[in-house]
Symmetry: C2
Subunit: 247 residues, 2 copies
């Protein structure tokens, strides 16, 4: 049975506490986050993560949820962070940690740009990766822009935040080939043998993968580009994930 | 000899006319556009496109330009469109049209997102492409976000706006293999033979390449992904440009 109620006041305690979820600190404390817009909510529902659906009063939007809250445009506006006129937002529970990282893992070393991280998660999912790991000092994984750029893919493969060295150690124990990305002492991508068990490490656009992390890799790979140009990190993730995709 | 002068007034005629360059209509009429921030200006300078450099009064920024205008923070703020605190902006001349599109061409069919278009231009440059063509109904090529996402690559390979069918016709005359991207009647990327003369057509994220454009292609290629997912168009451009890169 769906429970439905109305909130009309901006100072309602529930609205105040949900608004705090714009801050990563509160998301971590509560294990909750906000997903905005119909498409993202649909994807979160498929993953069983939606706790409360919040919609405009008299909205025709229907989702199969336990709790539906109808609010005024002012209240919805306070909860939403994007400029677009979303008609709904959902309070969601953070997904569980996976028991294992799996056989195809993408590790992101201190990547801060939420759009890039979301796009990379979408890419990893498209090529059948088992897990995406965000290192220490990365953007928060339930950042609104990460969710949006992932187009909901973030709800369909495990994406976790974890200390990079311990994640690499687990990948090594599981017999994965650990591939860093960089220029120094690197091997061109086309010269790397095919491999079905691989952990690929991508770095922050400014600094790349940290040297102490590259030391832990089986090989450092470079994408063969023309001259001294550089690639956007999400574009690089596409080339690497495609090469080592799940058949 | 560098000519230097000061402008302190927001209502100065020059400032008013430069501010109009925020609109694509005025950029097209005048053949001028604005490049913001030190990195972009440096790249525009290398390409010989800078007409006037505008900096904050007493700024230590030095560039080898013909005309340097020093302005107040208010005037600079009026000219700049990004949120970041740029200390300089340049009025630039639009680059010339190339005599030929070349042997490796990337064609963008009605792509509107300026960040994607800029990233795709950067990617095409990194893989040695000769030209990027933006079709009718694409984002304007001197849009500020296109310039920024291209990281200046847009000044180093010809990027032009042109009717798609006439661009494809020229590519065919030049003996290029014309590859569309899509799902229907498509061939997996790994089954397409290597080729040194190629025109790749990417479509808008919502609709893909228009059917009437796909009809003109020698083959339709699909990137082998897992299930029914989709890729960000800039990520797709990376996988395709890498595959058909300049050695």
């Amino acid at each position: 049975m769906m429970k439905t109620y109305e909130i009309n006041s901006l100072t309602n305690e529930k609205i105040k506490s949900w608004t705090k979820l714009h801050q990563s600190k509160y998301r971590r404390e509560t294990g909750l986050f906000l997903a905005e817009g119909e498409h993202l909510i649909q994807e979160a529902l498929k993953a069983g993560l939606v706790e409360t659906l919040i919609v405009l009063k008299d909205s025709p939007i229907e989702f199969d949820v336990d709790v539906r809250v109808e609010v005024t445009p002012e209240v919805l506006h306070k909860l939403c962070q994007t400029e677009s006129n979303s008609e709904c937002i959902a309070v969601c529970r953070l997904w569980d940690q996976p028991a294992s990282l799996g056989d195809r893992v993408l590790l992101l070393d201190q990547i801060q740009d939420p759009g890039n991280v979301g796009t990379i998660i979408r890419t990893a999912h498209s090529f059948g990766y088992d897990c995406v790991v965000l290192s220490e000092n990365s953007v928060d994984l339930t950042n609104e822009k990460v969710l949006r750029a992932s187009q909901g893919a973030i709800f369909h493969l495990p994406v976790i935040q974890r200390e990079m060295k311990s994640a690499i150690e687990e990948c090594r124990k599981n017999g994965l080939m650990i591939l860093g990305t960089g220029l120094k002492h690197s091997i061109p991508l086309s010269a790397i043998p095919d491999c079905d068990n691989v952990a690929i490490i991508l770095g922050n656009e400014g600094q790349g993968v940290r040297p102490e992390i590259l030391h832990l890799c089986d090989a450092i790979v470079k994408i063969e580009i023309n001259g001294f140009e550089s690639l956007n990190v999400a574009v690089a993730s596409g080339i690497l994930c495609y090469r080592f995709r799940k058949p």
